[in-house]
């Protein structure tokens, strides 16, 4: 029964914190542009409003259009349960493997790109074709980075990675970890559709990728897609902070106070990384679509060099 309680706690934490990350990023962007910006909790209000609205569905589309929001949301949430958030106790009974994480997210992406093509509109097709290009270019880098961290911790399960990193004295002290950290940071920016890869606040066809695929959605479907994307973003951020900077030593202990303290530390880390992402977004412009291969190649070489440093040079 403890497992079920942990699962529910983790689900609650993830669903409640995910829109907060978006709120923080928007607020930081607004401050740097000398605006007040929307309230921090704006996304919660948006989601609530969307859930109550009716849905307008195109007559050209099929069951795939209506099934996709549910699939996207549930794959993102299923993946969130494979990543350690507050404690190292594995809620699902099998320690989640990071390769499985990548491929479960691929299920969500497959259906999202199909839904873009389903409505027979040009915007959707355009978003789908750009999205598959960007994700295809970043996948080798993600896998090499993940393998490198797995090699350092001798396992491909995220929980074991976190445990292995916890035993090192200074976080990020090895060259391999710095390289892989930056590689994964670039991948996060691309996967969560942030500037410089994709602008999350635009509706011009020149610049849309993710927005184009969800253009036709409305009502509760739109709420699920947006929340699913926010949860995916939070999962990647959690992966980054909990594996690379496991500063809290209370993880692994049971007991209510340990869980609460580790939750607070986790929240602080997530807020810091969100501010970092927002600063990165503000300080650059969106790249041309065909400059994304440059970024992908750069990320690949970072992870490959990280691998070289560790396995070939022994450091």
């Amino acid at each position: 029964m403890i497992n079920v309680i942990y699962i529910l706690v983790q689900i609650m934490v993830i669903i409640l914190v995910a829109p907060l990350v978006n709120g923080i990023i928007n607020k930081v962007k607004a401050f740097t542009q000398k605006r007040k910006g929307a309230p921090l909790l704006q996304m919660y209000f948006d989601l609530y409003k969307l859930l109550k609205k009716n849905a307008v569905v195109s007559e050209v589309s099929s069951w795939i259009f209506k099934a996709t929001p549910y699939i996207v949301f549930s794959t993102a949430l299923a993946v969130a349960l494979l990543v350690p958030v507050t404690t190292l106790i594995v809620p699902t009974g099998f320690p989640g493997d990071i390769i499985m994480l990548v491929y479960v997210l691929a299920l969500g992406r497959f259906f999202m790109t199909l839904a873009g093509l389903d409505t027979g509109s040009t915007f959707g097709g355009m978003g789908s074709s750009r999205e598959v290009m960007i994700s295809a270019l970043l996948e080798p880098s993600l896998l090499v980075a993940v393998f490198t961290v797995g090699l350092v911790s001798k396992s491909t399960s995220v929980y074991k990675m976190m445990e292995a990193m916890k035993n090192a004295d200074v976080p990020l002290a090895q060259p391999v970890l710095i390289m892989v950290f930056f590689a994964i940071l670039i991948i996060i920016i691309a996967e969560t559709s942030r500037i410089p890869v994709d602008d999350p606040a635009t509706h011009l066809e020149l610049t849309m990728v993710h927005e184009a695929m969800i253009l036709e959605y409305s009502g509760r479907h739109l709420a699920l897609m947006e929340l699913g994307a926010a949860i995916k973003q939070l999962v990647f951020i959690t992966l980054l902070v909990n594996v690379f900077i496991p500063l809290d030593q209370y993880i692994g202990m049971t007991g209510i106070s340990a869980v609460i303290i580790s939750l607070l530390v986790y929240l602080v880390k997530v807020i810091l990384v969100s501010i970092l992402i927002a600063v990165a977004e503000v300080s650059t412009v969106k790249f041309r679509l065909f400059s994304v291969p440059n970024l992908a190649a750069f990320s690949f070489i970072l992870s490959f060099l990280g691998f070289l440093q560790y396995s070939v040079f022994g450091r």
Binding site: Y70, G93, M100, Y103, A106, L114, S121, K160, F307, S311
Partner: protein
């Protein structure tokens, strides 16, 4: 031995295939009866084959020698020996033949009255029979004979619709390439005979010196690689597989390629007993290259069958990656890793047969109802052929290695074997392994792109031509055939341990230990992880999670948002009144970003022809043509052909002089040379 032992069932299945072939010929005038009888007998035969091979794998015996027929010609004996590896491949073949035969009952009906259905079914049954013999041949002479027979019969099947010129060219290219490969095999067999003085495949190779083993390895690699379609020997595959009719293409791409993999494992691993690491590294590199290039070329195609044929090259690449890692492990005497990698490779062969066969059958269904194979003319089929669409969606998910289907499990096992392969102090192998990981990831992501294109543009949206708008659902036997394969895909994805246990018996029989110690997993239905040295996945656990989350969502959203009200309206059209089907994304447009990014591979050419109208901004018509260069043909094969032709021109004039005296001189010199050889040898 009782009447239901493995041997009798296997013999019964062989006899039934033969009867099916003859029945097709007997009823050659009555198309419908011939079709149903011969396919029905094939179904029965494949069921027997399935049961017998499964019984043999799970039993304790090593191998069954079915029969040895000596003939008057010395050294030519027909020897059928079934050991566990052969039984495994016969098992894969039987499952595929079962589904394809059920499918063919419905599919071949569109040939009634137009073509010789009896001949088609005769060739079909004998093709299956020849493949079974290839997998169970016991000595190399018999192997060679049935290998040639298999190539010949498949050539006839490829040029079955021989009035189309492209089919003829496809057939010619196929037969030439496969004979080139077979020539290399012949040389390897000759070397084997000259050292061991016997043609027995199951003998020992201890007498062959190391350098001869290396040469034989290269010869086997080229010979079997031509049949399997590895880069750069692949040029026949994209022409031959689309030319054949869809049920034959499913067999060719599903099983005929696997006979090459069987040959590689049988000859290189079991017979030659690997000792060198560079064999494994070479196969790893070839596999990684084939995986990336195969799917990259598949992306650019918009003929469904050519796309699927190129994609087979990618999956062969993945199988070779697993095989390469196992070769490296066996050369380093690391048996558990070798067994794991071999299991991954065999499991991926099994999975590939299932989903690639299913995809070709689906392409056949599309062709049956819309009479076109061009993606650019399809669209909106999901509303007209819903069951076919659902089955194609599940095969597309399986081939893109997405949870919870079977492609994911075998790719995961390949990743794990690459992971374990990276050990300190072997820099070359480590770098090759990590590059293989990157290649595998890239190939997987490009495969997602490819199949989103295939499924999305063919089935979703609005129809782009008249063919597509008049499509109807296909006869139910075709759907049942595909359904059998889809069920196996789902089962292998959710409960992989059952299948891996079968494969484990096969791998154990090749002299290595069982990997079951490393590979734990429960047999409960509820929660069923598959773990390799501590890293575990549970596809059924994830599926349960996803489904329960969806249920929870439906409940919660109903509570917060009230009842679901939906309003149907047109697609967002920016204020234009009518969106027509030409405004949707086309297949060429969908793959354009990747075509530009990977332009080194494709060297795309672009032609735009404008016919101006009233003003330059309002043309009357625009023709846009984009083409990719066939790099391997242009830069590798055409120069070789040119050199060969020039050389043979020169030789022709000096050797064949037309003068009788020269020819008599040749005969005289040959007799002198033979007598000299007799004296010296």
């Amino acid at each position: 031995m009782g009447i239901f032992s493995a041997i009798t069932l296997f013999q019964a299945s062989l006899v039934l295939y033969l009867v099916a072939a003859l029945a097709a010929l007997v009823f050659i005038k009555r198309h419908k009866l011939s079709n149903i009888v011969s396919n029905g007998l094939c179904i029965l035969a494949s069921l027997f084959g399935l049961i017998s091979s499964l019984m043999h794998i799970l039993s304790g015996e090593e191998k069954i020698v079915l029969g040895t027929f000596k003939s008057a010609i010395p050294y030519v004996t027909l020897n059928i020996t079934i050991d566990k590896l052969s039984a495994f491949f016969v098992l894969i073949l039987s499952i595929l033949v079962l589904s394809v035969s059920v499918y063919s009952i419905g599919y071949v009906s569109h040939y009634y009255g137009k073509r010789n259905v009896g001949l088609l079914n005769f060739l079909y049954s004998t093709f299956i029979l020849s493949m079974i013999f290839v997998m169970t041949a016991g000595n190399t002479v018999f192997f060679f004979i049935v290998w040639e027979a298999m190539s010949l019969i498949s050539y006839f099947l490829v040029v079955f619709e021989s009035e189309k010129e492209e089919n003829q060219r496809a057939g010619t290219l196929y037969i030439i390439m496969t004979h080139v490969g077979t020539a290399f095999l012949l040389i390897a067999f000759m070397i084997m005979f000259s050292y061991t003085k016997s043609f027995d495949m199951f003998g020992s190779s201890a007498m062959i010196p190391i350098f001869a083993k290396n040469i034989m390895f290269i010869l086997f690699l080229i010979g079997f690689g031509t049949k399997a379609g590895v880069i750069p020997l692949h040029i026949w595959l994209p022409y031959a597989h689309p030319a054949a009719s869809s049920n034959i293409s499913a067999l060719m791409s599903g099983i005929m390629i696997k006979t090459a993999i069987y040959g590689m494992i049988r000859f290189m691993l079991v017979y030659l007993n690997i000792q060198q690491t560079w064999w494994g590294i070479l196969i790893l590199v070839i596999g990684a290259t084939s995986a990336v290039l195969g799917v990259a070329y598949a992306l650019m195609e918009h003929n469904i069958k050519r796309l699927l044929a190129f994609h087979s090259i990618e999956n062969i690449g993945i199988i070779l990656i697993g095989l390469g890692v196992s070769f490296i492990a066996f050369a380093q005497k690391n048996e558990p890793l070798g067994a794991l990698a071999l299991t991954a490779s065999l499991f991926h062969s099994f999975n590939h047969t299932l989903f690639k066969g299913g995809l070709f059958l689906g392409a056949g269904s599309i062709q049956y109802s819309t009479h076109t194979m061009d993606i650019e003319e399809l669209g909106g089929l999901i509303k007209k052929m819903p069951i076919t669409a659902l089955l194609m969606l599940s095969f597309s998910l399986a081939i893109s290695a997405i949870v919870p289907f079977n492609g994911f499990v075998s790719e995961w096992l390949t990743y794990q074997s690459l992971f374990i392969n990276i050990q300190p102090n072997q820099a070359g192998v480590n770098i090759a392994s990590i590059l293989a990981v990157a290649a595998l990831g890239l190939a997987g992501a490009l495969a997602v792109a490819c199949f989103v294109k295939l499924f999305g543009i063919s089935f979703l949206g609005t129809p782009r031509s008249n063919h597509a708008s008049q499509a109807k659902e296909v006869p139910s036997t075709m759907n049942i055939g595909m359904g059998i394969l889809a069920m196996f895909c789902l089962a292998a994805g959710l409960f992989p341990m059952i299948f891996i246990k079968v494969i484990d018996n096969v791998v154990m029989s090749m002299g290595t230990q069982s990997i079951m110690g490393n590979l734990q997993g429960g047999f409960l239905i509820a929660y069923y992880p598959l773990s390799v040295s501590g890293n575990s996945i549970s596809p059924i656990g994830i599926l349960t999670l996803i489904i329960s989350v969806i249920f929870g969502l439906l409940v919660i959203i109903r509570i917060i948002g009230g009842k679901y009200v939906e309003r149907k309206y047109g697609t967002w059209d920016c204020g234009f009144e009518t969106l027509n089907s030409r405004m949707q994304y086309s297949a060429t447009g969908f793959s354009k970003p990747l075509r530009i990014v990977l332009r080194i591979l494709y060297r795309p050419g672009r032609e735009i022809k404008l016919e101006e109208g009233v003003s330059p901004y309002f043309p009357n018509s625009i023709r846009y043509k984009v083409s990719t260069e066939p790099i391997f043909e242009k830069y590798l094969y055409v120069p070789i052909l040119n050199i060969t032709q020039k050389f043979s021109q020169k030789v022709k004039f000096s050797v064949q002089t037309g003068n009788v005296h020269t020819y008599l001189l040749y005969i005289f010199l040959a007799v002198l040379a033979l007598m000299l050889y007799n004296r010296l040898a």
